[in-house]
């Protein structure tokens, strides 16, 4: 793939938390407008991969090309300005801020963000709850808010960690629709998922992560022929 269509390329990425060596040479790429999922068992290192891209782990080595730039040595606050939005596994809603303050918090990184009206149209609940304290929102509302607040900023690459986890089926379905709309709007998405049924219909490509490295790459068109691989690594 040429660099012009490539948004993110991770090569030989190692990452540490203090002394623990967690990522052992991750390799994957994400093209503009693609939705890519990282699948894997608990503790495989998918969250750590997203954090390493954002500069939130300890020491990192290897290469992270983001929007044509090598960012492996950059501090976190500069990386966001290359157009990266992050929705953390624990959702990261600030309890000391209102819902609306949470929504408005992340600084603008480009002019291509969704307007507030568009966001509220996508998540009508958030409009009703905008004056509530962050800690008062339900799990589903917190997840919507965590997603909504990175759509406003103009980030074009979204790193989404287990957004379907622990939510009621109707909300999971709603999130699926939202991801589809975002793909139509041209967002590039990295979806870290446990939930194969949620991820499979959305993903253009899947990477299976095991012990801090990619062990298999499955194109959308190869899903049928690589069934056993999925069986072996994920039990689906």
């Amino acid at each position: 793939m040429s660099p012009a269509t490539e948004y993110l390329r991770v090569t030989g990425l190692h990452a540490f938390y203090g002394e623990s060596h967690i990522l052992h040479g991750m390799d994957f790429r994400v093209n503009r407008g693609e939705c890519v999922t990282l699948l894997g068992r608990n503790g495989a290192g998918r969250t750590t991969t997203l954090k390493a891209i954002l500069g939130l782990t300890g020491k990192r080595t290897g290469s992270i090309m983001l929007n044509g730039r090598e960012v492996v040595a950059w501090p976190p606050h500069r990386i966001a300005h290359l157009g990266v939005g992050y929705c953390p596994e624990e959702r990261g809603i600030y309890a000391s801020l209102s819902a609306e303050e949470n929504l408005m918090l992340p600084p603008q990184v480009s002019s291509e963000g969704l307007a507030l009206g568009e966001i509220y149209a996508m998540f009508p609940n958030l409009r009703d709850r905008r004056k509530s304290q962050g800690s008062r929102l339900s799990g589903g509302e917190q997840q919507m808010l965590a997603l909504a607040r990175i759509l406003r900023t103009g980030a074009r690459l979204l790193l989404l960690d287990e957004i379907s986890e622990g939510l009621a089926p109707v909300i999971v379905q709603k999130l699926g629709e939202v991801i589809r709309q975002l793909k139509d709007k041209g967002f590039t998405i990295v979806l870290v998922e446990q939930n194969f049924r949620f991820a499979a219909p959305l993903a253009d490509r899947m990477y299976i992560v095991e012990h801090g490295a990619v062990v298999a790459e499955i194109e959308r068109s190869e899903l049928e022929q690589k069934r056993e691989l999925l069986q072996e690594f994920l039990g689906v």
Partner: protein
């Protein structure tokens, strides 16, 4: 002459006023400590030394350079803030990941060094600083005389406290600050330069102490020990109010100043200890402080 519980009203109002003056200092200093603790996770024992330096910079400015009170009120906090920033960059920034104890020890050491320096230069006896012409004299309120300088201390420190509260609770910059206090890593991942905010927060927090020092200069003697006398009470105020809350530290500071003043009227023997007595009570009944949240 009317009396309340056998105390002349004039004396009561006089002490109430003095209590508010002291409370204003407590409020400004504990506010700075609370902001610094929230953002840096450091108990800033050097706060009293920065307050003392604010007063000394004003005094030295007048003595050596002829810089008057009003300019000092602006320049001394800026100077103290810049010194704070230099200390944050060169020393404190290495301690954030460690236990509170390290920050406390380092800042305690800094306080001793700074105080020792000024003691060496100027001795322990205080230097007088005259009240600026505009603020000499008193207002006749009919029922009492209110010295203008005391009124000025109360009004200006409350204004500064309100301004700080407003910035933190009501503005976008304040939302960044609250977010960075709650979850610095995530806030940085959103593209906010948290290390820069931490540095500026320390500078601002100690600049507040410097401002309080300039305000205090004409009211007290400018002495190397003025900070360490005050800071002990201020730490008690912080314990009573609870570390986390901005509004809490302002209200607790003022409230305790007033309580101290009233104790002077009704039971003078206890006036020096009443704050510590309240601190013990609060620690027993509400260990996180009146406005603090249990962790």
């Amino acid at each position: 002459m009317s009396e309340v519980f056998g105390v002349p009203v004039q004396a009561l109002l006089g002490q109430l006023m003095l209590g508010l003056v002291n409370g204003s200092f407590y409020a400004m200093l504990s506010l700075g400590l609370a902001v610094i603790f929230g953002m840096l996770n450091i108990i800033n024992f050097a706060h009293g030394a920065f307050y003392m330096m604010g007063a000394f910079i004003a005094w030295m400015g007048l003595e050596y350079l002829g810089i008057g009170y009003w300019w000092s009120l602006f320049l001394a906090p800026v100077g103290v803030g810049l010194l704070g920033i230099a200390i944050e960059r060169s020393m404190l920034q290495w301690l954030y990941k460690l236990d509170h104890l390290y920050g406390l020890l380092l800042t305690f050491g800094l306080a001793l060094v700074l105080e020792g320096l000024f003691r060496d230069l100027y001795g322990v006896s205080g230097q007088p600083y005259t009240i600026p012409d505009e603020l000499t004299g008193a207002f006749n309120l009919g029922f009492m005389f209110l010295p203008k300088y005391r009124a000025w201390i109360i009004v200006s420190s409350l204004t500064v406290c309100f301004f700080t509260w407003f910035m933190i609770e009501k503005t976008r910059l304040g939302a960044y600050l609250r977010a960075a206090t709650e979850n610095p890593r995530l806030t940085q991942a959103f593209g906010i330069n948290v290390p820069l905010m931490v540095m500026l927060t320390y500078g601002f927090g100690v600049a507040l102490a410097g401002f309080a020092g300039v305000l205090a200069a004409p009211a007290l003697q400018v002495s190397p020990l003025m900070g360490s006398h005050l800071i002990i009470v201020v730490f008690a105020v912080v314990v009573i109010g609870g570390m986390g809350s901005i509004l809490g530290s302002i209200l607790t500071g003022l409230g305790l100043g007033v309580i101290e003043g009233l104790t002077k009227v009704f039971y003078p023997e206890a006036s020096a200890t009443v704050v510590f007595f309240i601190m013990v009570l609060v620690l027993l009944l509400r260990p996180a402080g009146l406005f603090g949240r249990e962790k």
